[in-house]
């Protein structure tokens, strides 16, 4: 009746997961209870759960990502402290727990922390920057988000029902095959990642189509903002490589469930094939994360220097170059697997060649500041921190791309330090910079600057104190994923690293405090102009927050940096452009199909994990029925009446009149 599921799946005998589960369940119930008591369900259902508005979906993605980053960070705290506590002793986490924790840490950080945040930014910004009203497939967008949330839910359910994978964040066979991992852990991983992977693939298709086929009049490719270019390149990579992930995980699932032999130890299975397939996905995956991060920095460097981005065409070329070459380097993740010098040389050289594209970008950002008036607001602090941190991470990356050097430090703490260096320095710093930068646009008030600066410094210093020792440990020979440590000489650096974690904890607390304080003081921090930072791209032409239809009339773009041109002309002529002729606007209706599909996807995943076959079939049928019902609807769009459009836009123009007066009084524009 319930497959493999019985009461032994609940960790009654293990205090740490048990207590964590109880706390999480209480918090979730508390939130749900609060929402019910305040009667917020109709609002939430109507405005957020069934929304197809890219801005709201973007905000939900970011919220999911931030919560999961915190969960992943909690795992990280446990990992660092366990290693420091287990020098010559067992520590406080037995291997079967520690192994789940580091596997969950990586899985959550990449799939449910960084990816949702990056995709959230893409969602919020790309249609605004392109001057259009929404993405190509708004309802599919909602489906994507909810499928991602479904995967995140499944991973977190593994904390209190069953166990998580104990294989690392990529479940290499033969360890991940049923012979060596007979529990439900790897199955949790497989279904969570598979379901959310479908969501991500649909996002990629959505954004490729949006960028190629939906730009406002006048916006040729070479007039798109840099963030949109990088979002586009990232989406191209998603479309090209997420099917590889789907296929590979499906193969492993077939091996585990029905005894097939794709990657098994015997009978003609080929575990090396898994390595190749999974890294053919895995390496481009990190570029999916880092390219939009570069885009964020491009926007920030040019805005806060008061100048256009240096070498725009070069940046576009470098972006597309990185996009393509990123799919040609995957073997550098296993130089030590004995492919031979010819193969290793090819992939080593290709991996170094990517550094060319990245190097060009860094120099272009530096020269963007040349001749500028650099304002060190919080986003700019993160950007300078990124320059320092990411360049060093890139340096260690090139070292790892040299096979004989990699033969010494593959899979060591040196590697761990390298990839955290580039992911934290590149992606996480970008996300915080972007949050500071675009939060006012999304919510209408800015974040508290003082707390933001403090959070930055603690994060920056904390990062280096945590991870620099790991480089040294790697050079001392320490491999990764050790549950306990036998070499006493490693102890000192492990303690230093834990001190760094303490600093990072303060940074995270400050970041949360910044959010809380800013919400509390939102009236004082209100942004009424819609253009808080003297922006250069079209999202700053809208009010903060933008109306649900983004633009009353689609803008006409006449040059690079479309909004900058509009602003310049307004200041020169001392007036706004003439009031346009308003027309009714057609917008897509909300739809519950995303939530509904993901709900049954979660049920399906859970049923498959626990071998509850009847439930799996029911969930599949219900999901299909939901989709068919959705396909049967007669009303796809609703019309926004022309009076409503006019009212909203006239309010925007009134605010802009005030803003124009302010601008003219300062010597902001030359």
């Amino acid at each position: 009746m319930f497959g493999k599921l019985d009461w032994s799946a609940v960790p009654f005998s293990q205090p740490i997961p048990l207590i964590t589960s109880i706390i999480v369940i209480l918090v979730v119930l508390g939130v749900l209870g609060l929402v019910t008591a305040k009667g917020w369900w109709p609002y939430l259902w109507r405005e957020w759960i069934t929304t197809v508005d890219h801005k709201r979906i973007g905000i939900m993605y970011c919220l999911l990502g931030v919560v999961m980053l915190i969960r992943g960070f909690a795992d990280a705290i446990m990992m660092r402290t366990q290693q420091a506590a287990a020098i010559g002793g067992p520590g406080y986490l037995p291997p079967e727990h520690y192994n789940q924790i580091f596997s969950a840490h990586g899985t959550i950080m990449i799939f449910f922390g960084a990816m949702p945040l990056v995709i959230g930014f893409m969602n919020f910004l790309v249609p605004l920057q392109l001057g259009v009203r929404d993405v190509a497939f708004p309802t599919f967008n909602s489906v994507s988000f909810w499928l991602t949330a479904s995967g995140a839910l499944l991973v977190n359910v593994s904390l209190f029902i069953g166990e998580f994978a104990r294989t690392g964040w990529l479940p290499y066979p033969p360890l991940s095959e049923a012979t060596y991992s007979p529990g439900v852990g790897v199955d949790y991983y497989l279904w969570a990642v598979q379901i959310s992977g479908v969501g991500t693939l649909v996002t990629g298709i959505n954004f490729v189509t949006t960028v190629l086929k939906m730009r406002c009049p006048g916006m040729s490719y070479m007039r798109m903002p840099m963030f949109t270019w990088t979002a586009f390149a990232s989406s191209l990579i998603i479309v090209a490589v997420f099917p590889i992930l789907t296929a590979t995980l499906a193969m492993l699932t077939l091996d585990r469930y029905v005894g097939w032999h794709y990657f098994t130890n015997t009978a003609g299975g080929n575990p090396m094939m898994f390595m190749n397939l999974i890294w053919a996905w895995g390496h481009p995956e990190v570029y999916i994360l880092v390219l939009p991060s570069f885009g964020i920095f491009s926007e920030i460097f040019s805005t806060f220097s008061g100048k256009p981005l240096f070498g725009y065409r070069s940046m576009v070329a470098a972006t597309l170059f990185i996009c393509i070459v990123s799919m040609m380097v995957w073997l550098h993740h296993f130089f030590t697997m004995g492919a031979g010098p010819a193969v290793n040389t090819f992939f080593g050289v290709a991996s170094s060649v990517i550094a060319v594209g990245t190097g060009v970008k860094i120099y272009n950002w530096v020269f963007t500041m040349y001749g500028g008036r650099v304002r060190f607001e919080v986003p700019m602090l993160w950007s300078m921190g990124f320059i320092f941190t990411f360049i060093i991470g890139g340096l260690t990356g090139v070292l790892l791309a040299v096979p004989p050097a990699d033969f010494l430090v593959h899979n060591s703490m040196f590697l761990v330090a390298h990839f955290h260096n580039v992911i934290v320095g590149g992606v996480v710093f970008a996300l915080f910079a972007g949050l500071e930068f675009w939060f006012p646009k999304a919510f209408g008030f800015r974040l508290h600057a003082g707390l933001g600066k403090a959070a930055f410094w603690f994060a920056f210093i904390g990062f280096w104190v945590t991870f620099a020792p790991l480089y040294i440990l790697g050079l001392m020979g320490m491999t990764r994923r050790l549950q306990h440590v036998i070499v006493p000489a490693w102890g000192f650096w492990l303690y230093v690293s834990v001190a760094g974690v303490a600093i990072l904890i303060v940074g995270v607390i400050l970041q949360v405090a910044q959010l809380v304080v800013s919400i509390r003081d939102r009236e004082k921090l209100r942004d009424v102009t819609g253009d808080l930072w003297d922006g250069r791209s079209l999202e700053w032409a809208t009010p903060s927050p933008p109306p649900f239809f983004n633009f009353a009339v689609l803008p006409n773009v006449e040059g690079e940096e479309p909004y900058w041109g509009i602003k310049l002309r307004a200041v020169e002529t001392q007036q706004l452009s003439p009031e346009p002729k308003y027309e009714p606007i057609e917008m897509p209706v909300n739809s519950p199909v995303g939530f509904y599909t993901a709900f049954f996807a979660t049920v399906f995943g859970f049923a498959m994990i626990w071998y509850i076959w009847w439930l799996a079939i029911v969930a599949l049928v219900a999901a299909y029925a939901g989709f068919a019902w959705f396909a049967w609807r007669d009303v796809h769009e609703f019309e926004v009446p022309v009076e409503e459009v006019a009212r909203v836009d006239r309010a925007r123009r009134a605010a802009r009149e005030v803003f124009l007066t302010q601008l003219s009084r300062q010597e902001v524009l030359p």
Partner: protein
């Protein structure tokens, strides 16, 4: 004056700490492979630092000089392109990477793990099997085997043939240099050499399950005479590694103390590598190392 002394102390302390990192690890190599690998690592680092440090300094100088409060800096609000700068900006990474590419090419061929070391001495043959969760070392010519203990003669190249009897592992002795994967059904090859007598550790550098952290093994390089004596003493004591003993060994166990076998069944390594002896069985209900979680009734090997 006092602050300069304090600064010097800080620098010395940092250097001492940094140097301590060099002990016992990959930057403290004991043989030709390790030292070649380490040389390449250090050379590549220096090449990259030559680019990275000026770039970081340039970035911070640029940000500082053109800060908004600096009225002396020129404001060029429309300057966003310069062909000359573009040419330099593309050339620096390209040239650096061409250089590194050369290092990669030459180094990968020179340090191919499958390539024998130039030496007048005949290489010692050691066959390595990674198990859950210990290492088995077979000396086919000497007819002995050890678990979690590797003894090699100093100054003699050692030819490792490496396979796995369960999941992927990586055979790695940091002070001897290059590591390589141990894979079931396949034989990796590695040539290493210890130039001097020493005691060091080896480990698995690829996560292989619950007992992974215990897969460290002691490595001793000893003078030739001592090696011969050690082989004789191993032959005199210990059990035989026949198929039955091997099957017992292949079952999962953690934290195995080093010991040796007095004799080895002929062609045992080949049988393991070609999977004529099936791979290790993984967690078994009576031998489960995890806290009583369910055993899958689904697909299996």
């Amino acid at each position: 004056m006092l602050s300069r002394v304090r600064l010097k102390l800080v620098v010395l302390a940092a250097a001492a700490l940094g140097l301590s990192a060099c002990q016992g690890g990959v930057l403290d190599p004991l043989g030709p492979v390790g030292s070649d690998d380490a040389t390449i690592l250090i050379d590549a680092t220096v090449i990259m630092l030559a680019i990275v440090i000026p770039t970081i300094l340039l970035a911070f100088w640029m940000a500082w000089h053109y800060r908004a409060s600096n009225s002396k800096a020129e404001y060029l609000p429309y300057w966003s392109y310069s062909g000359r700068i573009e040419a330099v900006v593309w050339s620096i990474p390209i040239l650096t990477i061409m250089f590194i590419g050369g290092v990669i090419w030459i180094g990968s061929y020179k340090l191919d793990p499958f390539k024998p070391l130039p030496s007048k001495k005949t290489p010692l043959e050691v066959q390595v099997v990674s198990l859950d969760w210990k290492w088995l070392f077979i000396y086919p010519k000497e007819g002995i085997a050890t678990v979690n203990q590797l003894v090699v003669p100093a100054g003699t190249p050692v030819h490792f043939s490496i396979t796995s009897a369960s999941v992927f592992n990586v055979f790695f002795v940091p002070r001897l240099g290059s590591m390589i994967y141990a894979m079931p059904g396949m034989v990796s090859q590695l040539y290493l050499q210890a130039d001097r007598p020493a005691v060091m550790f080896g480990q698995s550098s690829h996560f292989s399950g619950d007992g992974f952290s215990d897969m460290q093994f002691q490595v001793r390089s000893v003078p030739d005479a001592q090696f011969g004596a050690w082989v004789q003493s191993a032959k005199a004591t210990g059990m035989a590694l026949d198929r039955a003993a091997y099957t017992r060994l292949a079952r999962q166990s953690q934290n195995v103390k080093p010991y040796s076998y007095a004799s080895v069944a002929p062609k045992l390594f080949d049988a393991v590598a070609m999977q004529q002896i099936p791979p290790g069985p993984g967690p078994e209900p009576g031998n489960s190392s995890h806290a009583g979680r369910e055993v899958s009734r689904g697909g299996h090997d």
